[in-house]
């Protein structure tokens, strides 16, 4: 595929009774992010994106989308069938979140320049159907989007208690909200810096070149989301996690963390996710997705996590 795809489909890889069900670290925002970011990757950023949201994607506040896209966002309602075609670059995003009893979780996004800014689809189902009619070269299928045979059945959906976690007060290594926001370009979009003086590419973006020490000749360097080789790995067992991750460890028993090589002078420490895809070993390649990490100061925080970069199914 040359250039970014025109549409993206995503189904969580986790299966309960054969149905795709979001993992503990997935929510409406991460599902939307997973399909949206694939459509804007590599495009020259517009001054702002026109954003049409459907289903659970509607519940995500504007600033989250703006942080994700790195630009201003103008929201339009999908339900208004009188919407005029827009001259602005448009993204149509739909997220369906099922209850635990029925249905599937999934997300779909379409770039408006394909649909010509036409009337947005009123339902996620219709958008999903329309994308099926696009040429295969125009659509990227993510997660368990491809139906697969004999899909692993995940453990029962643990009863997350976000309210309890959100209520947690940090002591000690508090990462204040402002510092968290400062890290979003690196944590969410894998943006690092290239130094115009010595040429070194560093990660994450810290505002100073680790090679020559200069801070005034740095430009943003975007790393690919996928295909990074693992150079170190550990599995955190109960008790070795920072307290922010207590609820997660209570439910999952622990998690894996890997050090992934983004480039010759750039590495990222990433928590692993989607254990259904199997453990990650040294030398494996990993893909990344935006996921929930932990709650602090009353909000969920997000970062990219790693999973095996191999075809699902």
């Amino acid at each position: 595929m040359t250039g970014p795809p025109r549409a993206a489909l995503y189904r969580p890889v986790r299966r309960v009774d054969g149905r795709a069900v979001r993992a503990r670290d997935e929510d409406a925002f991460t599902l939307a992010a997973t399909v949206m970011e694939r459509l804007v990757r590599g495009l020259p950023p517009p001054a702002r994106w026109e954003l049409v949201t459907t289903g659970a994607a509607r519940d995500v506040p504007d600033p989250m989308y703006a942080l994700l896209l790195g630009t201003a966002v103008h929201r339009r309602e999908a339900s208004s069938s009188q919407s005029l075609p827009s001259a602005l670059p448009t993204l149509h995003v739909a997220v369906e979140l099922s209850g635990p009893e029925a249905g599937e979780d999934r997300a779909v996004a379409v770039r408006g320049d394909v649909r010509g800014g036409a009337v947005p689809a009123p339902t996620a189902e219709r958008l999903w159907q329309e994308v099926q009619q696009l040429g295969p070269e125009e659509v990227v299928r993510l997660g368990g989007a491809e139906p697969r045979v004999g899909a692993a059945v995940g453990p029962p959906l643990a009863s997350a208690k976000p309210r309890d976690e959100l209520g947690r007060v940090s002591e000690g290594a508090l990462l204040p909200h402002a510092r968290y926001l400062e890290g979003v370009p690196s944590h969410w979009r894998l943006e690092g810096e290239q130094c115009g003086e010595c040429g070194r590419v560093g990660f994450p973006a810290r505002g100073r070149c680790r090679g020559c020490g200069r801070s005034d000749r740095l430009t943003t360097h975007s790393f690919p989301f996928d295909g990074h080789s693992v150079v170190a790995t550990t599995r955190i067992g109960p008790g070795a996690q920072p307290t922010e991750f207590d609820a997660q460890v209570d439910q999952s028993g622990g998690y894996q963390v890997v050090l992934a090589e983004l480039g010759p002078t750039a590495r990222a420490t990433l928590q692993a996710t989607d254990p259904e895809l199997g453990p990650i070993s040294l030398g494996d390649r990993v893909a990344t997705a935006l996921r929930r990490t932990y709650a602090m100061e009353g909000e969920w925080r997000y970062a990219r996590k790693a999973f095996p970069d191999r075809p699902v199914g």
């Binding site: 290594a173 890290g183 990660f203 550990t234 067992g237 307290t243 990222a268 420490t269 970062a303």
Partner: protein, 383 residues
């Protein structure tokens, strides 16, 4: 060094003030011809302030409990390397000519707080903007490093286990040690995994404790004892905080630079050093330190350890006191405790764990996962 004192390390009933008093009183009691507390010019207090206890102005409290209120007092905080850096601050203050007698005291009271708060605090000294949000405390950071080290050098986990076996054997002879029970290799390898490939016996414990040193100018030392221990050289350095931003995660640049600087300042070769006190917060850390300090090539520390060379009766004894692994690791006290062991060993007063005829020793104290390091070289000055 004319005096040194040490409390028991472990889960202790004593509070921080009591621990400070005990360590300082022991240090004064150890001075052969006595030392008047009022002659202390400066107090250097090493502590992380674990759990939030008296983070601000803690040095004044330390001076007060030392019985030297009124002395110049400075709080040194470089995470787990606070003690090593406090010793350096004292040495430099004395070398400047403005200080004749300095008290260095290190303390951490880690078991006052709940389990949850303790884990918050165990992750405050790493990179809090990237590595911690990925779910790592130090066990996890060292777990990552260990996985890479073992694969890179084709070393088996038994090399890590041997570090634990050796240090537990030494700790069994140290009445101040947190753990005084030997362990065998099978127990280490079979222990619960904490941060794979590191298991429970690869990790140092969370300890309470304090240690204190009395340092004077070299000229004044013989006023207090016939057997002072001299500081021959100090070297300290820092390194990028996050391990992911370093050139090679299995090499600690701060240790390398600090070690080179200390050896240069002391004008000694590695072969002249009788034993080492290395910062083994995790078993992997002792192997890294042996390599970064130049006592063997990268990848050779595991095989070297397996030959028994680093045992107390080996060619190059490492951590005869049990190290952080068995003696315990009350953060601010650790670097001071290493010098306490040197004080005993070089004066032939280490009892059952005495190394045979040591003349010089090197201590190595690391902050976090290598972001800071302090190396000090000592020699026996006795008759």
């Amino acid at each position: 060094m004319v005096g040194a004192g040490h409390t028991r390390f472990g889960v202790l009933a004593d509070g921080p003030r009591a621990l400070l008093r005990a360590a300082v009183d022991a240090a004064f009691a150890s001075v052969d011809r006595g030392l008047d507390r009022r002659s202390v010019d400066a107090v250097f207090f090493a502590s992380l302030g674990f759990g939030g206890w008296q983070i601000g102005n803690a040095a004044a409290l330390a001076a007060e409990e030392a019985g030297a209120p009124g002395a110049r007092a400075l709080h040194v905080e470089n995470a787990c390397a606070s003690g090593g850096f406090a010793i350096h601050a004292a040495v430099e203050a004395i070398a400047s000519g403005g200080t004749e007698v300095a008290l260095v005291v290190g303390l951490e009271k880690m078991n006052d707080v709940t389990n949850a708060r303790r884990r918050y605090w165990l992750g405050v000294s790493g990179d809090t903007e990237w590595e911690r949000p990925a779910g790592l405390t130090f066990a996890g950071v060292y777990g990552l490093i260990a996985s890479r080290y073992l694969a890179l050098h084709r070393v088996g986990p038994e090399a890590l286990a041997e570090v634990a076996v050796k240090n537990h054997a030494n700790g069994a002879l140290n009445p101040n040690a947190h753990f005084q029970k030997p362990v065998d290799r099978a127990a280490v390898l079979g222990a619960t995994r904490v941060a794979d490939p590191l298991g429970l016996f690869d990790c140092c414990p969370v300890s309470d404790g304090a240690a204190a040193l009395l340092l004077t100018s070299p000229a004044a030392a013989h006023r207090y004892t016939d057997a002072p221990v001299f500081v021959d050289g100090i070297g300290a350095a820092s390194e990028v905080l996050a391990v992911q931003e370093r050139e090679e995660p299995t090499r600690f640049g701060a240790t390398r630079r600090a070690g080179e600087a200390a050896l240069r300042a002391a004008r000694v070769d590695r072969g002249e050093i009788s034993f080492l006190e290395l910062h083994d917060c995790f078993t992997i850390a002792e192997l890294l330190a042996l390599e970064d300090l130049g006592f063997c090539e990268p990848g050779a520390a595991g095989p070297l350890t397996l030959t028994g060379a680093t045992r107390r009766d080996g060619r190059l004894p490492v951590n005869p006191d049990g190290g952080l692994k068995a003696k315990g690791h009350p953060i601010g006290a650790t670097g001071v405790s290493q010098a306490y062991e040197v004080f005993l060993q070089l004066r032939g007063a280490a009892g059952a764990r005495q190394v045979a005829n040591p003349t010089r020793a090197l201590t190595h104290n690391v902050g976090g996962a290598g972001a800071t390091a302090a190396v000090t070289i000592f020699s026996a000055g006795g008759p």
